[in-house]
């Protein structure tokens, strides 16, 4: 083998001198704009240890042995079969990430989506006051109520949202997703209170809270408490869910927010791994067996950029790196613990790479993402819909086109036929190694600082991400990085395409305008009519319990939820005990 490598290297040198150089001279170039790879770039490559089989350690080729990516299409004419829906039960289409205005608005939205064929549980987007632990009636947060998601102040809001989910879609028959982090424990406690009222036992509930607080300090910004008490909250949910809720995932952690905030590929991977390590360690510190809880760690999305091959290699490297960490560092025995599970999308383009200039180009971009997704072990998902950057967007047309693009990638281009089709490519294998090594180096640096929590407390991660974001902006301004329609191809010769929505938006703009006032009225009424003596008593007890570091607060949050204690009332007590996070300066 080594002789072969030497031979190849010699041959390559000869090719560069005799073939490449004259060609470049012909073009008037000093350096080649393209590269080529040979077996010399992956010298010593060992298939079994580096790649292996799909569904087997180190999971480079995919976390599952086989993956039925898409539901069987029903061939034939539309109407009748649309109602009956796809065949395989587990592949029933659930609603997309959504939540609008008041609880009533969101309930009605899901009702409408059920009419259109959705059968899954809600994938709830919460408004920022809910994500940051404020009630709708707080004058400090005016303007934000009901924007970017539904507002949840008390259990009453959950009761209303879930009116749509009964009978065939009762709580034990659907899975709910909650994009909630800092107050995740309070929100899941509200869900537990709701299930108790409906007589559904905890062990039957299926849900995934995002519950990934550490990345909020680095990106996205919906933190409340400082990192250390935040980790205590994480521990509480992990221990509680582990004991009582075998079908609820503990976290849906993910690096794509960090990438979206500006991190490089290597930073994204290193920071994500450091954060996952911190969570896993917290479980071990709480006395849990790694194989009892690690299988219910999931990831949200990883990565995101237009550089397709690099993103594919990134996903291969991520799976391998995580598996190695869980196995070698945490001594996991079960392979289920080692899966970087849940990121069914695989590679994608990253929402931050969509443009408002000539927005239909985003469809082209997302199709490139869909190809990357399929080749990286994902479902070939075209994401996001082309009107993503237009804020009011997520028009039904753009969602239809995104779904169709995914279907075309799957059924017409048949990109799902082979697992890890780029395995063994000199380029992809060397790129996978390169990304993993660079990320490992950065991870070691974080470890020296004391891990994810320490490197967030001292502001390292936040500053590094800001620096990378600025570097990217400089490259865009200098023209080193190009974005079509943004910093190139912008002359008057280009046609500025506008888009128009033909189907009305899912959320009525009039209701949208009225949501804040309506929610404030609802909450004022509720606060007047509940048993306020119990509320005061429960909050007093919460303070005492919060002061005891070992106390798991979830059972008490459930009691508070049942008495319609509001989210901010609970958070304010915790703010008193835990303090609030002070962000680091730039």
């Amino acid at each position: 083998m080594s002789n072969d490598i030497e031979k190849i290297q010699k041959k390559k040198q000869a090719w560069e001198d005799k073939v490449l150089k004259p060609a470049l001279e012909g073009f008037g170039l000093k350096e080649s704009p393209t590269k080529s790879y040979t077996p010399a770039d992956i010298e010593g490559f060992d298939f079994l240890s580096k790649v292996g089989f799909p569904g087997e350690y180190p999971f480079t080729a995919g976390i599952y042995a086989a993956q039925p990516g898409m539901p069987d299409p029903r061939v034939g004419r539309a109407t009748a079969q649309r109602r009956s829906g796809p065949r395989a039960a587990r592949l029933v289409r659930a609603a997309g990430y959504s939540g609008y205005g008041t609880a009533e608005d969101t309930r009605d939205y899901y009702k409408e989506m059920q009419k259109r064929g959705d059968r899954g549980g809600p994938n709830l987007a919460f408004d920022l006051p809910t994500q940051c632990g404020y009630d709708s009636d707080n004058p400090m947060i005016r303007g934000d109520v009901g924007k970017v998601g539904v507002t949840v102040d008390t259990l009453r809001d959950f009761e209303i949202i879930y009116e749509t989910f009964q009978g065939e879609t009762e709580l034990d028959r659907i899975a709910s997703n909650f994009t909630i982090n800092a107050p995740a424990n309070i929100i899941i406690a509200m869900y537990f209170a709701l299930s108790e009222k409906r007589g559904i036992p905890l062990e039957k509930l299926r849900a995934t809270p995002q519950n990934d607080i550490l990345k909020e300090f680095v990106a996205r910004g919906t933190y409340i408490f400082p990192p250390k008490p935040s980790m205590r909250m994480f521990r509480d949910s992990m221990v509680f869910l582990n004991k009582y809720c075998p079908r609820i995932n503990i976290t849906s952690a993910g690096g794509y927010h960090i990438r979206g905030a500006g991190a490089t590929r290597e930073q994204d991977l290193a920071f994500s791994m450091a954060i996952l390590i911190a969570y896993l360690q917290e479980g071990v510190n709480a006395g849990l067996d790694i194989d009892s809880f690690a299988p219910r760690f999931t990831i949200n999305q990883f990565g995101g950029s237009m550089e397709m091959f690099k993103e594919i290699a990134f996903h291969r490297a991520s799976r391998r790196m995580y598996a190695r960490i869980v196995k070698e560092r945490f001594g996991a025995k079960s392979e289920r613990s080692m899966l970087l599970r849940g990121g069914r999308m695989g590679a994608h383009i990253g929402c931050e790479n969509t443009t408002i200039q000539r927005p239909l180009n985003n469809l082209t971009r997302s199709v490139i993402g869909a190809v990357a997704s399929a080749l990286s072990g994902g479902e070939g998902t075209a994401y996001p819909p082309y009107d993503e950057p237009l804020i009011m967007g997520r028009g039904l047309e753009s969602s239809q086109l995104a779904r169709d693009a995914t279907r075309i990638v799957h059924y017409e281009a048949k990109l799902g036929e082979v697992r890890d089709p780029l395995a063994g490519s000199y380029y992809i294998e060397s790129l996978t190694d390169e990304i993993e090594e660079a990320a490992q180096k950065e991870l070691n640096k974080i470890e020296t600082m004391g891990g994810a929590v320490a490197s967030i407390e001292n502001g390292y991660m936040q500053r590094e991400v800001a620096k990378s974001a600025q570097a990217r902006q400089r490259r865009i301004e200098s023209g080193e990085d190009l974005m079509v329609g943004v910093n190139c191809f912008v002359s008057e010769d280009e046609l500025e395409l506008e888009i128009k929505h033909l189907v009305p938006p899912a959320y009525d703009p009039v209701r949208r305008e009225q949501a804040e006032e309506k929610q404030i009225r609802n909450l004022t009424e509720l606060k007047k009519n509940r048993d306020n003596r119990t509320v005061t008593q429960l909050l007093k007890e919460l303070k005492e319990k919060a002061k005891k570091e070992d106390e798991n607060l979830i059972p008490h949050f459930i009691e508070c939820a049942k008495a319609y204690v509001s989210e901010q009332e609970m958070c304010d007590i915790l703010r008193e005990v835990f303090g609030e996070y002070e962000p680091v300066s730039l």
Binding site: G143, V148, E216, A219, G221, A466, A469, M483
Partner: protein
Amino acid sequence: MSEERKIRVLIAKPGLDGHDRGAKVIALGLRDEGMETIYTGLRQTPEQIVRAAIQEDVDVIGLSCLSGAHKYLFPRVVELLKEQGIKDILVIGGGNIPKEDIPFLKEKGIKEIFTQGTMVGEIADYIRKNVRTQATRA
């Protein structure tokens, strides 16, 4: 006039939106352009922003919001400035602002809106052209 005062810019995040990549990039980028920039950090109320602008004696306030709350928050900042009798601070905004909201915001006194894909250099040029610095105020 012997020492030219640098243009002072407050980059502020009103409301609860935590997406501050843009705000940070603008704050750092305008610094590269020779301006003094102060970044407020997240979750500032309009009151806090106006207070900081006065304390820091800035010439420009740049507001950034991606949550859709700009129609309330941006005009509120201008309103509070007016209440304080401040007329010479240039207020500009950016973020995820739908095109159809821009005329409304301009009518409310936000002088310019820079949306996604704007180059920092372009914003710096705009500021230089439109700002009324201490020198011109005096």
